[in-house]
Subunit: 328 residues, 2 copies
DNA sequence: TAAAAATACTCCATAGGTATTTTAT
DNA sequence: ATAAAATACCTATGGAGTATTTTTA
């Protein structure tokens, strides 16, 4: 008899290419997984896995079966999700992925309210870069991700939440006057510090600055916090997203300058597999994010660091009431 | 732990609305199925089935889960199919449905050659009317069906095989001359005998004759054989499809008359779930059907009953070389 | 020699069967 | 009263763990 467990093990084996690690992911012993794979081969009457030059590799038919097994595993997860939530909005559990340039700024504002409104929701969080998030999402290891749009995956549905404008962060001693509007030229005349390869924020900044790659790549860093410290110390300038202002502008050693129109920005939104039965959950989650940022933005607008920026700087650009879903 | 078996039982239960009959289909005892359903409810933490006024009925959430369970069962069957066939054309097993007005005429011509070319193919046959066939196909209880096209199911793929023209079968004593071409008028001037409700052939004949319903419904029958006996005995006339000529015209008590152009006909083809991994198999099967009918048709053309009909009367109208697949 | 997968063997969870009881028309 | 589903109890299959062997680079 074919079992879901066998398909689960094969799915894991296909992703890891290694019996031991696949077993680890499935939280079983290696012989247990090994046995189930063999039983699966017996049931199907086909060889699924081979050992070429020491590596564990799937046969052609094994790969096709694994692909289908993955789809079935995702379908079963959707089934349990749709049953466990029991019609309640945001019941059960949600596995949420967030990019590193959003997580530290958005999550602290959203999670408390989320927990208050949905105390029985179990939230599993993963913070990593867009590519990894999308892979995990496709594999069914995540339910929904919060990242910069657009993304060009046909099998995903996306919900745009708000626009996040970039500001130019310069050392306090920079000659540019405090309230002036800056341009690409101003950026290119200075040393630009960016996140390392793989962060979408880096790519977005480079596109705006019309550079193919960063000339000052030796000044890269792995977190916005570090980059802002470098700016504060006078090593260069950077493009800082509005959501990060409250957390990253801590003293008077940096100035924030608005760009001339059209201001550079990134669109922030949610993405999930279009087969997911929890679209309503995710849209509710999206609204909570928008609401949380609006409140927080209004509060901090009266605060210190942005004398020349209009109120509610981190608030959503488009109204949360008319969030729209687009199938990309 | 959620198991495929539980989903299989729920799928069966949803279709039968009855624990005992569902258990019968699954070839297990009623308590066994009952237990698995309860275990499934425990695992999902949701009530799936209720007992309203003596009948077993699924809850709203139960119906949704059952729908997804059905999809998963079909996906697993596709998985095993794609593995079992092991890349070979028409390996493993195929569950074929055929409408009653084709099965007795097409199958005897196709099955011997099919068995010769694919001796290890296991073929499960079901002969019943179009509606039932399509339901079973959608439920994953059949792999492919042979019937009259077109059908308007979005989730099915179809392959047109050949056109099957209708001829007017009249008693030998009918005044119409032997080689004359007949029209709708000739039919309407006579007593028309048709299959009972539900047969697509009946509907096709009624459309051609421009009648909303059959006035002589008391002369209905459940098989073409019976109807031809009635025609031979002088009770009326009927529209006989070409494929049935060899089998149903056994003596000189009936005459077959061609219609004037455009001759009434039905299109015969195959249909399968578009998610099926065996499209290649089905197209090969389709070609075999076309080939088998061509050979047989050529042979019987020289035979007795159709002096005024051109050779290869039962041969496909369109070439088997350019069979085309249309997603309807 | 080392790492990875297969094998051996034991234990226990659980699916399934039969018999029976409960429940609802 | 009857039919259907739930419960009780027993059996046996098989999945998982630990320990060990085999295989291959």
């Amino acid at each position: 008899m074919l079992t879901l467990r066998q398909l689960q093990y094969l799915d894991a084996l296909a992703r890891h290419g290694h019996f031991g690690r696949a077993a680890q992911e499935c939280a079983v012993s290696q012989p247990a997984l090994s046995m189930q794979i063999h039983e699966l081969e017996r049931v199907l009457g086909a060889v699924l896995v081979e050992h070429c030059q020491g590596a564990t590799v799937l046969t052609e038919i094994g790969a096709e079966v694994a692909r289908r097994a993955g789809a079935i595993m995702r379908a079963t997860r959707d089934l349990t999700d749709c049953a466990c939530s029991g019609g309640r909005l945001l019941g059960g559990s949600v596995r949420l992925g967030v990019i590193p340039t959003l997580a530290p700024y958005v999550l602290p504002r959203v999670l408390p309210e989320l927990h208050r409104q949905h105390p029985d929701l179990r939230l599993d969080l993963l913070e990593t870069q867009t590519n990894t998030l999308l892979t995990r999402l496709a594999h069914g290891l995540l339910d929904v991700v919060l990242l910069a749009l657009p993304i060009d995956k046909l099998e995903l549905e996306t919900l745009t939440l708000f626009d996040d404008r970039f500001l130019l962060a310069v050392p306090a001693g920079d000659p540019l006057p405090e309230r002036s509007r800056v341009t690409t030229r101003d950026v290119n005349a200075r040393k630009l510090i960016l996140l390392e390869e793989g962060h979408c924020l880096r790519d977005q900044a480079l596109i705006y600055c019309a550079r193919l790659s960063d000339a000052d790549s030796n000044l890269g860093a792995t977190s916005l916090t570090t980059i802002m410290q470098m700016v504060a110390s006078g090593y260069g300038v950077t493009l800082l997203p509005e959501v990060a202002i409250d957390a990253e502008v801590r003293d008077d050693r940096v100035k924030l300058l608005r760009f001339v129109e059209p201001q550079p920005k990134r669109s922030i939104g949610l993405a999930w597999r279009s087969t997911s039965p929890r679209k309503a959950d995710f849209m509710a989650l999206g609204e909570m994010v928008v609401e949380a940022l609006k409140v927080q933005g209004a509060k901090s607008a009266s605060a210190s660091h942005l004398r020349d920026v209009e109120a509610r700087h981190a608030a959503p650009t488009n109204s949360p009431a008319k969030v729209r879903t687009s199938v990309t």
